[in-house]
């Protein structure tokens, strides 16, 4: 007889396979009195140091395998280890009660966990899991128990657990995880986030005592319906297999279409490429049918560290991404950091107006070596790559010439030292400051391409601080002033025989597709997940219609009128 259990569906899809019950190491804490103060303090200090080493390694491994976003959780764990109240509280308990370090840690962890669980917001409650994760790690370090020694079976399994912490899941071999199912946790739990990022079904808050189950129990996990079937009947397995293959066929069909070029019904072809920030993103972009990269953000190389990344490190990171992209074109945006983040070693301090401040290309007079090193690393890593480099935040011709000079210097000095460098690199700029759009005709002669950053172009043109939620909605790229700057930029570039891309959110907005096609945009760059949808949209449109639509849209006086017009001529639901 099969048994059915329900939970909250948090990641879609169907998994069929044997269950594996994850049982984390349990460290029993005994409270001991009359302990030696100095010894317990020293034990605590060495456990903290060992835990910090472990977390640093997990952080690095996670960043490389899953990307910065997933790795952020371990940065939070490091902050907890450095928390003066938490560590201070443990030390105080050791001193006041003369107890062992284990008991002091367990006490402090539960105190904070309970205070977090008492908050009303689910996001805050979920942090109780992090403090417990850190506490568990400290206890393991103290007792010499190995964490990270989880032995998954050699075959693919559906993982069942009471709860999963980031430290638990990071040890799993993802290739062998068919699905995830936990008794605790909600839609924002770590389990849910992980499942969606690796694309397996998951159910949380499962109403079933999983400790009754044994490893290898046959299971069906339906991540869309939120159901776990234990010991399914043969016909239930058949149904699940049919549903599973239908879902897969649909997915394959969408992806296959995404891999084909984006041509309009009358044969006009544009490039559809991805905005990325890591090698993991690059792999995802290819899965979604990206023909290349239109924006590789490089800030991640410079954040969360104390000194400039070495040339070797930069080369290694770029090479990893270029290798994934193969012979597809990659547009790299050079460093774009400003006073919204204080980065000591770059000389960036918090500023009252960071988006109008000392940032990006404006750094080259004071700190030319940062950009020169970045150029060198790209030239070294880019051998045999269709490499394109662009400079953000350009407002004047002098800046283009200054950056170009640095680029030429970097190239010459590498060649002089006999090192092979990338050949045929295209040199471009971002058009995101209104002055650059207005001067596009003058700038076009000095570059190989433009890439329009519509998020910032709208912010600067309309004098709207996008980080201020009271006005952010005013920064629409569909505002007639912004549209006219986009049109003018494309026209000026084409008059000079140069190509133009667009890498703001607008490129992935279905409403904008006919308009941008009609304006003659050559390259659309967007979040990987938007690519299949926008490509499909392009295939439904005729270029000649789009030209008329664009010409009409440019005559309209307000954002509302533009959006209404676009919706009326070609409904975006089509």
């Amino acid at each position: 007889m099969s048994r059915h259990a329900r939970g909250i569906p948090v990641s879609g899809g169907i998994a069929i396979g044997p269950g594996w019950i994850y049982r984390p190491t349990i460290v029993k804490v005994e409270r001991l009195g009359n302990q030696n103060l100095e010894i317990e303090r020293a034990r605590l200090a060495s456990a903290v140091a060992a835990a910090r080493d472990q977390i640093n390694r997990l952080h690095q491994a996670t960043r490389e395998q899953l990307g910065q976003e997933q790795a952020a959780i371990f940065e939070a764990h490091l902050l907890i280890l450095e928390d003066p109240e938490f560590i201070g509280g443990i030390n105080a308990a050791i001193e006041a009660d003369r107890i062992n370090a284990e008991a002091a840690i367990a006490g402090a962890v539960e105190e904070y966990a309970q205070r977090l669980l008492a908050l009303t917001d689910e996001y805050f409650q979920a942090r109780a899991q992090d403090i417990r994760d850190v506490g568990h790690r400290l206890l393991c370090c103290l007792s010499g128990v190995q964490t990270g020694g989880v032995e998954m079976p050699d075959w693919p399994v559906i993982v069942l657990a009471e709860d999963l912490t980031p430290s638990d899941t990071v040890q799993f071999d993802r290739a062998r995880v068919l699905g995830l199912c936990t008794v605790r946790g909600g839609p924002t739990s770590h389990t849910a986030i992980l499942a969606r990022s690796i694309g397996v079904p998951a159910v949380v808050s499962l109403a079933f005592p999983i400790e009754e189950l044994h490893d290898g129990v046959p299971l069906i996990l339906d991540g869309s319906a939120g159901e776990l079937i234990i010991d399914p009947a043969p016909e239930e397995v058949d149904t699940a297999r049919r549903d599973q293959s239908e879902q897969r066929a649909l997915w394959v069909q969408q992806l296959r279409a995404a891999a084909m070029p984006a041509a309009t019904t009358d044969g006009w072809v544009v490039e559809v490429v991805a905005n990325i920030g890591s090698a993991e993103d690059a792999r995802q972009a290819i899965d979604f049918g990206a023909e290349g990269v239109g924006l590789l953000r490089t800030e991640f190389l410079y954040l969360n560290r104390e000194q400039l990344p070495s040339l070797e490190e930069q080369v290694r990171v770029y090479q990893e991404i270029f290798t994934v992209m193969g012979n597809r074109p990659v547009v790299v945006r050079t460093l774009d950091i400003g006073g919204d983040k204080a980065v000591d070693y770059l000389g960036i301090r918090h500023e009252p107006n960071p988006f109008l401040g000392w940032r990006a290309i404006r750094m080259i007079d004071e700190r030319p070596e940062i950009l020169r090193d970045q150029f060198s690393a790209l030239l070294l890593a880019g051998k045999g790559v269709d490499l394109r480099i662009m400079i953000p935040m350009v407002a004047s011709l002098e800046e283009v010439l200054g950056a170009r000079q640095l680029f030429d210097q970097a190239c010459q000095s590498l060649q002089a030292s006999g090192q092979p460098v990338a050949a045929g690199v295209q040199f471009g700029i971002m058009i995101e400051v209104p002055s650059a759009a207005l001067l596009a005709g003058h700038l076009a002669g000095h570059v190989d391409f433009f890439s329009i950053g519509t998020n910032d172009l709208a912010q600067y043109t309309l004098a709207v601080d996008r980080t201020n939620e009271r006005v952010a909605h005013l920064a629409s790229p569909f505002h007639p002033a912004v549209l006219n700057l986009i049109a003018q930029t494309i026209q000026a570039a084409h008059a000079c025989g140069k190509w133009v891309g667009l890498c703001g959110e607008m490129a992935g907005d279905r409403r904008a597709t006919p308009l941008l096609l009609g304006l003659g945009l050559d390259e659309f760059s967007m979040a990987p997940a938007s690519i299949p949808i926008v490509k499909q949209r392009i295939r439904q449109l005729a270029f000649t219609d789009c030209q008329e639509i664009a010409a009409e849209a440019l005559k309209l006086p307000t954002t509302r009128a533009v959006l209404d017009y676009l919706d009326q001529v070609i409904p975006s639901a089509q």
Binding site: A72, L79, D83, Y112, D336, D340, H350, T467
Partner: protein, 93 residues
């Protein structure tokens, strides 16, 4: 003692990355820094402690009060206010 109040406009409140940035910035100053959640009528906590800041449960549109005392107290207050007012420097496109 320098003190100021500000409304946190970030969608997640003082949580995740904003909380981490706030605490890291606070910890970079030598002075004592305290913060409380006026909207939830909380007690003051140590702004250099991530766990204490999280237990304030500061959500979007909550008002917080920051007090600094000691070496570089004015500078610390200004920096923390600027961080919150810039909405933690959300990513640009």
């Amino acid at each position: 003692m320098p003190a100021a109040e500000v409304v946190v406009m970030h969608t997640v409140g003082l949580h995740a990355r904003p909380a981490a940035e706030f605490v890291k910035l606070a910890a970079s100053f030598p002075c004592e820094i305290k913060v409380c959640n006026l909207t939830a009528d909380s007690k003051f906590v140590n702004a250099k402690s991530i766990l204490s800041v999280l237990t304030l449960g500061v959500q979007q549109a909550h008002r917080v009060r920051i007090e600094t005392s000691g070496e570089r107290e004015e500078e610390a207050l200004q920096a923390l206010m600027a961080l919150i007012e810039s909405n933690f420097g959300e990513n640009r496109g």
